[in-house]
């Protein structure tokens, strides 16, 4: 058995495509890493890293890379995670090599239904369950895929455990699912935008996660237009300024503020608390993430 990290917490960050999931996940991870004594790990899933592009930083891979203070980044692919697990299980590197160099095995990892999902979540929950290589973090933040793919990912352990009631596959899947439905260990964050499509998708996902995993997700509304003027101040301007670019601009801001407020209110009415995150106009990535960090309340 590896070290069990009883107090480790996993945060899954998801939402509709294009809402700014990754940057908000980074903001949450950065904030957690500054709050806690021990480091936080921000994880991307798949074969290529968005953060490598965003931060123009190479070397984000399976082995955690220190990015800033207490914050490490990693990129997990199903193949890496499975390899890690198999090595831990078999202990003999030669056999593991044989296993993964086998062409049939390679194809199988790609196509066996549910295997990739369970492997990724197996890795994510390995610190809590005390299996695999040590994952010495207080917080693990997972930049998860968008809505439909995230649900497919999270549902896989339960589905597999129902197909295989006995044997190691069923047992591991069941244990992974038990972590996913434990609100003291897992949190879910849904990122939305103050627009119709993301709002509708967010609310659907909110209910699905709450019902299927018994954990109430946290909803953040991202990229809210935040001019330094209030609605009434804008209305005041529009009373004197009726022509030209500046009045068009003020009119647009006012209409947009009202529209966005409606979407936020609908979400609040349905889910209770909604974190409001402004549209940050900084383009320097760390500055952007620090600023976003001011608006997230991870716990």
């Amino acid at each position: 058995m590896s070290k069990v990290h009883e107090d480790q917490r996993i945060t899954f960050v998801t939402g509709k495509g294009g809402v700014g999931k990754s940057t908000l996940a980074a903001a949450i991870a950065l904030k957690l890493s500054m709050e806690s004594e021990s480091p936080a790990l921000l994880v991307e899933l798949g074969d290529s890293s968005y953060f490598e592009v965003l931060f123009e930083a190479g070397g984000i891979g399976y082995r955690p890379r220190s990015m800033r203070g207490n914050l490490d980044f990693a990129l997990w692919s199903p193949e890496n995670c499975l390899q890690d697990y198999v090595l831990h299980f078999l202990k003999i590197e030669k056999v593991v090599d044989l296993f993964f160099k086998n062409p049939v095995m390679k194809a199988l990892i790609n196509v066996a239904p549910g295997l990739a999902e369970v492997t990724l979540l197996g890795k994510a929950t390995s610190g809590i369950r005390g299996v695999g290589s040590d994952l010495p973090y207080r917080h693990i933040v997972i930049d998860s895929p968008s809505t439909g793919h995230a649900l497919a990912l999270l549902r896989a352990p339960k589905a597999l455990s129902e197909v295989f009631r006995i044997g190691p596959m069923g047992r591991e899947s069941r244990r992974i699912h038990e972590v996913l439905i434990d609100s003291s260990k897992c949190s879910y964050v849904i990122v939305a935008l103050p627009q119709e499509l993301p709002r509708v998708e967010t609310l659907e996902l909110f209910h699905q996660i709450r019902e299927e995993f018994g954990v109430v997700p946290k909803v953040y509304c991202n990229k809210i237009l935040s001019p330094p003027l209030s609605e009434s101040e804008l209305e005041g301007i529009l009373q004197t300024q009726t022509k030209g670019g500046i009045s068009h601009f003020a009119k647009y801001l006012l209409d947009q503020l009202k529209r966005e407020r409606e979407h936020i209110d609908i979400m609040k009415a349905e889910v209770g608390w909604v974190g409001e995150v402004p549209l940050v106009l900084d383009s320097e990535p760390w500055k952007l993430i620090e600023t976003l960090g001011e608006y997230v309340e991870p716990h």
Binding site: G17, F89, S146, H149, G170, L197, G244, F249
Partner: protein, 363 residues
Amino acid sequence: MSLIDQLLTSKKVVVCVGTGGVGKTTLSATLGVRAAQMGLKALVLTIDPAKRLATSLGIVGWSGEEEVVRVPDQEFKGELFAAIVNSKKVFDRFIRRTAVSEEMAEKLLNNALYKQLSTKLSGSQEFTALERLYTFAKSQDYDVVILDTPPAQHAVDFLSAPHKLYQLFDESVIKWFASSSTGGGPFTKILNQATQKVFLTLERLTGSAFVGELGHFFSALKSWQKILQERTSGVHKLLTSSECSFVLVTSFDEAKIREGVGLHRELKRRGYFLGAMIVNRAFPVWLPSEVAVSEKFEHYEALLDYYEKLKRYYSKREEAYRWLEAQAQSVKVIRIPDFDQEVFTLGALVTLADLLGDLHVSN
């Protein structure tokens, strides 16, 4: 004639690719509207449209049986049709239609793994989308068929999906499992020692139930290998033919644009024709170019300051656009502005389609 009009009139198949959240579904519908405006009989195949857009297209409340619907309230020179591709239904139907026997079909459809996970099977959504595209394109019922591709983390996933699915039917995998599931362990005879060891390791790791079920799954799939192979090569032929064009949709996020450029290379490498790149929400129509005033008023400074900030924010994107244009080489880049309203209604789609029809791209 605008670039988009040229594409729509000269191609029978248009495939819209791009990452999630860039407005791919809306643009696919818009291309359909534009085609109908020009007098064509057009079909838009979409995967998971938002409810309001689906309502505008008349495909909401659709009971699950795939149906082509004539888009209601249209007044086009041509005609616009729309359909949603239901992945699970299409896959099940494909299995039934192509099965050598009823019994084989039932065996697979009742396999526990298939039942639990057929909709999530790697590449199955992509496969079914292409399967429908192929069927409609071959039917010759439409002048042009426009496919909105499934949402994906990375746009390139769509291109690698057929290969992934094909791997599923890779003979070695099937042989391996088909022989292992016949019971009594005869697989030990045909497998070499190394593979045997790997197999036993997998069994130790996952349990005999898992390996057994996988075996049933793959052996049940075995009889579809040939038909799937044929269909895969048929689709490939269609996609690489002169009748087909890809359109890449991207948004004005630097990372998305970079990804778009990567996809462009990938399309080229695979022999696909990329007819246009569309940058959605490229610049805000609502941001005035001129805000000079004759007389200052209360809060003027704050308002002007915010205006300048937004302007800088968008001009940064302009730089990314120029970079994209330089990378795109021979492919034309079309920019669509960020409107101050979301596009849901047929009327809004028509406005957008008019715009696409007006965009003459200088060479």
